[in-house]
Symmetry: C2
Subunit: 198 residues, 2 copies
């Protein structure tokens, strides 16, 4: 576990306080489990700090992550910590009134809203869950994502999850964790089960 001691003290002209509060871009990638669960675990910390949290789920399936969604919605409404807005591509996004042609268009609409929210500084933590996929597939231009995130105003932490995060995104990130699959029960015929996979 980290002890808060940096390996080097950079010569960047920032005070320790300024450096400490620098907004971070975090990426959870790799083929192993835990990319999204760790992002939602991080959201618990942000919630505890009283921060407004915006979740954008760039997945079609409604089955996965219902536990995290319900827990964070209840926490967000509890008045004890930060607020939580949960946006789902799988339900066509709440702000889109018309039918979306396909996943590609839906992913683009999601990214357009993320851009608006970043410009407006709506949230202090943005969870862009499974957002590595639309970048990997070329649906959303990685170059633009990197540009928007690099120039984002204020103190907005962003965590992006997904298996094949593009190299340019990793280069721009402050923290990258790769989840490596060492052993998985599906390898030996185990099916996904409630409470574990969703």
């Amino acid at each position: 576990m980290p002890q808060g001691k940096p390996a080097v003290v950079p010569d960047d002209g920032l005070t320790t306080r300024q450096r400490r509060n620098r907004p971070l871009l975090l990426v959870h990638t790799g083929p192993g489990k835990g990319k999204s669960t760790a992002a939602f675990g991080l959201a618990l910390r942000a919630w505890n700090q009283g921060w407004p949290i915006g979740v954008f789920q760039f997945v079609k399936s409604a089955k996965w992550k219902v536990g995290e969604e319900r827990a964070l919605r209840i926490l967000g409404a509890s008045g004890e910590g930060g607020t939580v807005v949960w946006n789902k591509m799988g339900e066509g996004w709440s702000w889109v009134q018309r039918d979306l042609a396909d996943s590609e268009e839906a992913a683009r609409e999601g990214w357009e809203q993320v851009k608006r929210d970043i410009a407006a500084e709506t949230y202090r933590l943005l969870v862009l869950d499974e957002f590595a996929y639309p970048m990997h597939w070329g649906w959303v231009p990685t170059e633009e994502v990197v540009h928007v995130l690099r120039d984002r105003p204020g103190t907005q932490h962003v965590v992006i999850t997904g298996r094949n995060a593009p190299r340019e995104l990793l280069d721009a990130a402050d923290l990258v964790t790769e989840m490596t699959k060492v052993k998985h029960p599906m390898d030996t015929g185990q099916k996904g089960q409630r409470g574990i996979e969703w």
Copy 2:
């Protein structure tokens, strides 16, 4: 993201339902971030299923993971999902009345309680946070841990986190994820910050 399709169907004489509900031993190890956050993210899923959850934090520091603790305590008390019991070594464990000589003794006392709770089937998910360390340091015998976990009764899922999980534990686990550090802000002088590290 897993689609619930196993790579092979095993010839183990179990029905799909039996196999689906098989209790799992999960290990999150490696030098990267996200081991504990992913475990607590998993606890959100268990909570959503209405399961009783027992957390055992095998760490001394009280500073880390306060967000997860507060969130899960509020969820556990909400009446909306499962219950949560949160046990902390850093505060001397609630069930130990005397002073504990050192971390080694404290870790042993923690494991003794875990054994009692496993025998009594107190929880349906046990989060043994940072428990790889006392095994790695030889404070708690890995062989005994593996034996107790292998023979645990009923349907008790167990997730163990910590950097240097012993080989015997990985061999006994159903799911092992290694969190690999690709890039960390502390490498470039960033100190730990609120909402991210705790």
